[in-house]
């Protein structure tokens, strides 16, 4: 079919699908004001209008996208350990990659979830400067990815499903990380996850920054919270690549299509989990319930498929996971 990018058409069908969980946020004036005072100063807001013109976006779209970016990065936004605590009555955190060290930017361990044992893994950001320094702002080193890999293999060994929480600006760019092969660590996770013989569910809870996020994101189901983002490069990095000006990040955020709504349209994620109107941090318990419901529903669905498939269950699971990523991309021929 010449000329027509096949995925776009399919994506439009998806957008009309009634089971879609996405709810368009209805920002009242009051909410907007609230957001503005609540959030850190909107960097680059002044340039927004001018820069919007450059790429033909409307200022409205740009500022709405930017609000989501700010919510996704909000200091008070619930982090991985908050969700694990609220979702799992028991959690035993473990440490270290058994190769070189311990990376506090990724946490993980066995947990109890709705009568099952799961392996919970996630990027961990802090809520204040002190915590963030301790967690390296949620930017993992190779050791973090290798710890995650070790835990996933543990899960596979004992037949526990893996649940990953994604919340990172990206892998930490540093001398030591390069020396110890951060790229190799990410690549190996992708390889192992594509063949891991247990169900994997990944939830983007805040920021999904590039390969550093994908390294725990190759899953049977990928879910995103309504105000989370997921991208190949941060808005700031995109802006400095595109316009050599990281202050134009709000425009880049719009141009690069990084919101949960964009990603559902592009068929990269399976579902959007609704947040309370003013963001996840305003009602963490409500958000956690929604996350719990979504994970449980998807996990039960996968488990039901596996029971149906009988002895072929795992091969079927792996084949479906492969096909899910195999079809991603837009091209013409």
């Amino acid at each position: 079919m010449p000329g027509k990018p096949r995925l776009i058409k399919k994506a439009q069908e998806v957008a009309r699908h009634p089971s879609q969980v996405f709810r368009k946020p209805e920002h009242t004036e009051q909410t907007d004001d609230e957001l503005d005072t609540m959030l850190p100063a909107a960097d680059g807001a002044l340039e927004t209008e001018e820069a919007s013109a450059i790429v033909g976006n409307t200022t409205d779209d740009t500022s709405e996208t930017w609000k989501r970016v700010q919510l996704a990065r909000h200091a008070e936004r619930p982090k991985t350990l908050d969700y694990i605590k609220r979702l799992c009555p028991d959690f035993v955190e473990v440490h270290g990659d058994r190769r070189f060290g311990e990376d506090t930017a990724i946490v993980g361990g066995l947990a109890e979830f709705e009568g099952r044992t799961i392996m919970a893994i996630g990027h961990q950001k802090g809520k204040n400067t002190k915590e963030n320094i301790a967690r390296n702002f949620g930017m993992p080193s190779p050791e973090g990815y290798r710890k995650a890999l070790r835990l996933m293999q543990q899960a596979e060994k004992f037949g526990f499903p893996v649940v990953c929480f994604i919340d990172t600006p990206g892998a930490y760019p540093g001398l030591e990380g390069e020396e110890r092969g951060v790229a190799q660590a990410i690549a190996e996770n992708l390889l192992v996850m594509s063949q891991l013989r247990v169900p994997i569910i990944s939830v983007v809870i805040g920021e999904g920054g590039s390969g550093g996020a994908l390294a725990i994101g190759l899953a049977d189901r990928v879910l995103m919270l309504e105000n989370s983002i997921y991208s190949g490069a941060s808005p700031e990095a995109s802006a400095s690549i595109l316009w050599r000006d990281s202050a134009k990040a709000p425009v880049a955020a719009m141009t690069m299509k990084i919101t949960a709504q964009d990603l559902l349209r592009l068929e990269v994620i399976d579902e959007i989990i609704s947040e309370p109107e003013s963001g996840a941090h305003t009602e963490p318990a409500v958000t956690a319930d929604a996350v719990k419901e979504a994970i449980l529903r998807h996990l039960s669905e996968i488990e039901a498929h596996m029971t149906e498939a009988g002895p072929q269950a795992i091969e079927q699971l792996l084949a479906n996971r492969y096909d899910k990523f195999r079809k991603m991309g837009v091209y013409e021929e």
């Binding site: 390069e178 390969g211 991603m328 991309g329």
Partner: protein, 334 residues
């Protein structure tokens, strides 16, 4: 072996073209090439030490400076000429073309226009060229990234072509060589570019399960999503001397960490020292090394048990099946 290599050189020095040079000579305008290629066309200047050499000599030497051994960047076809048997190259899936999933526009320039210009400039449809040929008669599938095409950034077509090549390898039990150079993921296709990391690596997982070897050659420069996916998932990883290879670029690292980076940081030699690559292989020796490995890996046996007895059978085939399919493939190779 040596004989074949000399033959390649002789043909080149007479100004004749390989089978895969059938298209009229391709023009590239990347800055580094400009410096190297055009000092009055007769002289080529090494971009590193500025040594002058006869262009013919320089090209005969696969654009490696005789004085400082600097390995200049190669076009995809120049790359293939360094390793393949003459006339053996068959390109596949050249027809797959770039889409515009984000309706990307920047300063009034839309992505499809940018692609059209780049196509015209480089003579290829996308940053990754895929196909197969022989090395000393041994079949091998090859995916070459051409840095002149938008910094060989990995977008949907790049990923799709690589996966289709891997599927071809699975179908014919053909070993795979990937030659990587890349600035990372393709900005213009956003998240879909990122997902190509998952897609290509998952496909390599299947190749691995089928016990078909993947050789990876990292060339200058190789960064971001390519290094963090298929290029680092190989049975043997090689790099060209002096090639810059890493995840984050040195400028980003310096800006983020305010660390002073040591001399030689992220070079192929640095990676070798840190255990990240198997070998640093000079361009002139690559064909010979790969040929030896194809032969050694070609004897791979898959252990298998049947009724309590250990059976083994040869894993890599080529031969009749290969030749027959070649004819079919030629129909849709350009």
């Amino acid at each position: 072996m040596k004989k074949v290599e000399q033959k390649v050189e002789e043909t080149k020095s007479k100004g004749e073209h390989h089978h895969f040079f059938q298209r009229k000579s391709l023009r590239h305008d990347s800055p580094s090439r400009e410096v190297a290629d055009n000092v009055g066309n007769i002289w080529a200047k090494c971009p590193k030490c500025h040594e002058l050499a006869y262009t013919k000599e320089y090209e005969k030497n696969f654009k490696v400076c005789q004085k400082c051994k600097h390995h200049n960047r190669l076009r995809w076809d120049e790359r293939l000429a360094t390793m393949l048997d003459e006339g053996s190259w068959v390109e596949v899936n050249a027809h797959i073309k770039t889409g515009d999933p984000l309706h990307f526009a920047n300063n009034g320039e839309v992505y499809p226009d940018k692609i059209a210009q780049t196509r015209k400039k480089t003579g290829i449809n996308e940053a990754l060229v895929t196909g197969y040929g022989t090395i000393e008669g041994q079949p091998v599938a090859i995916a070459v990234a051409d840095f002149a095409f938008l910094g060989a950034s990995m977008g949907s077509v790049f990923g799709e072509k690589l996966v289709r090549l891997i599927e071809l390898c699975l179908e014919r039990r053909m070993p795979l060589l990937t030659v990587s150079a890349s600035g990372g993921a393709r900005m213009h296709e956003g998240i879909l570019s990122l997902m190509q990391m998952a897609k290509t690596t998952a496909a390599l997982g299947r190749l691995g399960q089928a016990r078909i070897p993947h050789f990876s050659l990292l060339t200058d420069p190789c960064y971001g999503g390519v290094t963090a996916s298929y290029a680092m998932v190989a049975d043997v990883i090689m790099a060209e001397p002096g090639a810059m290879v890493g995840f984050a670029g040195p400028r980003v690292i310096e800006q983020t960490t305010r660390q002073k980076l040591p001399a030689g940081f992220q070079t192929a030699e640095f990676l070798l020292e840190h255990g990240m690559v198997d070998e640093v292989v000079p361009r002139r020796e690559f064909r010979s090394i790969l040929s030896r490995m194809l032969k050694l890996y070609g004897r791979a046996q898959a252990p298998a048990f049947a009724n309590g007895t250990l059976l083994s059978f040869p894993m890599i085939m080529g031969g009749a099946q290969h030749t027959q399919k070649t004819e079919e493939m030629k129909n849709y190779a350009w």
